[in-house]
Point group: C2
Chain length 320, copies 2
């Protein structure tokens, strides 16, 4: 099967054409319009075999996750998904792999009305690069630099089960088969918090998605907003499988585990009931885990207000 | 140097912020506006070491070429460059390599006022994925499906020197060092025909950039427009170094060589003087090389109207 036939077969034929995409796959460029009063939110993520996923990863889950991590960036801006491009390097053409990968990807894309509009396919070490496009009303994006002193800090869902699943694969932690499988769903099948991000427009100040670990990602908000924070480590929502482990491990994986793809956001304390209403509307649990303050730095304290000392840093793709 | 410091150092500090990019690098997404009456043209290309370039390629030239092949897609739509994202997988952090790569890329980006607005950096086999954004007035894009029977077929610049340079590297052709160096500039430093693409708005019908070889790329126009064509092989503008070789090789490399990044476009014969004026305005040579016709298929004839039989196909990334 030639490159063109391959693309045609797996990546074009299920496409419909919404009015804001007058030209999709098959030309030098796709053409896309933004509605009046809207800005485009744009993000690119590159996933590499052996780095972001195991080379023998289930292709259906990989297709899901590759798009999910990009949609998660849109969620963290309060942007509504519209379209994406896919560039794919493959060591060889395996029709079964491509079928499953594309099905996993399109199943999620269709849930969010996010249209594949173009991309590239080439031979090479397995590499998946997706660029995603969303819309957000001018001035309403949830930016990292918009936190304010006194804001509550919130996180959606639960943290740490993805890291626990990874620990299971790496034999760092002993897990029952059933527990490992359940935790692994959080690693392989993250749910981008699109609905929550949209519901938080006009309520939250700053937001980020938790991809590299809560401490590191919250750190980006603090740095860009030039503020500090206190986090309550006993308020963190541990994943249900992680919660069965000892407290030190729970804290470590929830604070620095990565791959959670939850939203960490800040909102004025006067908006607590609005935040809870938005979360209910989005059918997502949210937990208040600390507060923003003027003093620089991140302080993590337990329920007795004792400081926690953590040596762990957020995942850095070149330092490890 | 950590991932974040690396990105900061080489890929953010020279950025200015035009009004249509309210938020660039450093958040979950970049934010971008399109002017009223404009559509965004979007294209992604992925370049892989050992496939699109030699692993030891000069990083400055590679930085240039990685962006140039994307800008060439905008040129082929008649779109004006605005911004791009860069996702980069690197086997290791080499500051000299990154400095040279980013300099080559930014030199071209600044020539075309094309702003880096985001991306990703990760460890992995060398892979460069750029997504580029341009603007084109609604309805004025030069689409592949817009050719009409009776249109002239034109090509910009000269063809085949890039393929000749590759043949030199692969020892398929013997070349003097001076000739090889000059031809290699066409392989490593293609000039995206942005100015010509913009000048052809409202004049040309269909356009494509010649990346995989003239026959294959013109074939995309014919397929999408459901038309056929006749090409005059003795009218092809051979590159100056290629032109010193025998006629059979000149024809082969000009017709099926690839990597030329010239524009192949069609325009009504009534627009010949307008095409030439547009080319003059863009300071680019254009050559009329055939015509579009209703009968399907591509016929290549010599100056005596004798058909040329060619076994060569356009470059296909999986079939070779």
């Amino acid at each position: 099967m030639s490159e063109f036939e391959l693309i045609q077969h797996y990546f074009t034929e299920r496409q419909s054409s919404p009015s804001y995409i007058p030209l999709g796959i098959g030309d030098d460029c796709a053409l896309m319009s933004a509605r009046v009063g809207m800005q485009l939110a744009i993000s690119s993520d590159m996933l590499v075999a052996g780095r972001h996923f195991f080379a023998d990863a289930n292709p259906r889950m990989l297709g899901h996750k590759s798009l999910a991590v990009n949609l998660s960036d849109l969620a963290a801006m309060g942007a509504e998904p519209r379209a994406f491009t896919l560039a794919l390097a493959l060591p060889e053409v395996q029709p079964d792999w491509l079928r499953d990968f594309s099905e996993g990807m399109f199943f999620l894309a269709e849930q969010h009305h996010c249209q594949l509009i173009g991309g590239d396919t080439t031979k090479g070490p397995l590499n998946i690069c997706i660029t995603v496009f969303g819309e957000v009303p001018i001035g309403q994006a949830l930016r990292r630099d918009a936190a304010q002193a006194g804001d509550d800090i919130w996180v959606s869902g639960a943290l740490g089960d993805a890291r626990l699943a990874l620990a299971g694969y790496l034999k760092q932690q002993a897990l029952s088969e059933a527990d490992h499988q359940q935790a692994a769903l959080r690693l392989h099948q993250p749910s981008p918090r699109i609905t929550l991000g949209l519901a938080l427009r006009g309520i939250a100040h700053a937001a980020i998605d938790v991809s590299d670990g809560l401490i590191g990602d919250l750190g980006h908000i603090l740095k860009r907003s030039q503020l500090g924070a206190t986090l309550w480590c006993d308020s963190l929502p541990f994943g249900p499988i992680l919660a069965q482990q000892n407290t030190a491990l729970c804290r470590e994986y929830a604070l620095a585990g990565g791959d959670d793809y939850e939203l960490c956001f800040t909102a004025p304390s006067a908006q607590r009931s609005a935040v809870l209403a938005a979360a209910k509307q989005a059918d997502t649990v949210v937990t208040r885990i600390g507060y923003i303050e003027a003093e620089a730095g991140l302080r993590i304290v337990d329920a007795n207000n004792q400081p926690l000392s953590l040596s762990h840093q957020s995942f850095d793709h070149f330092s490890s």
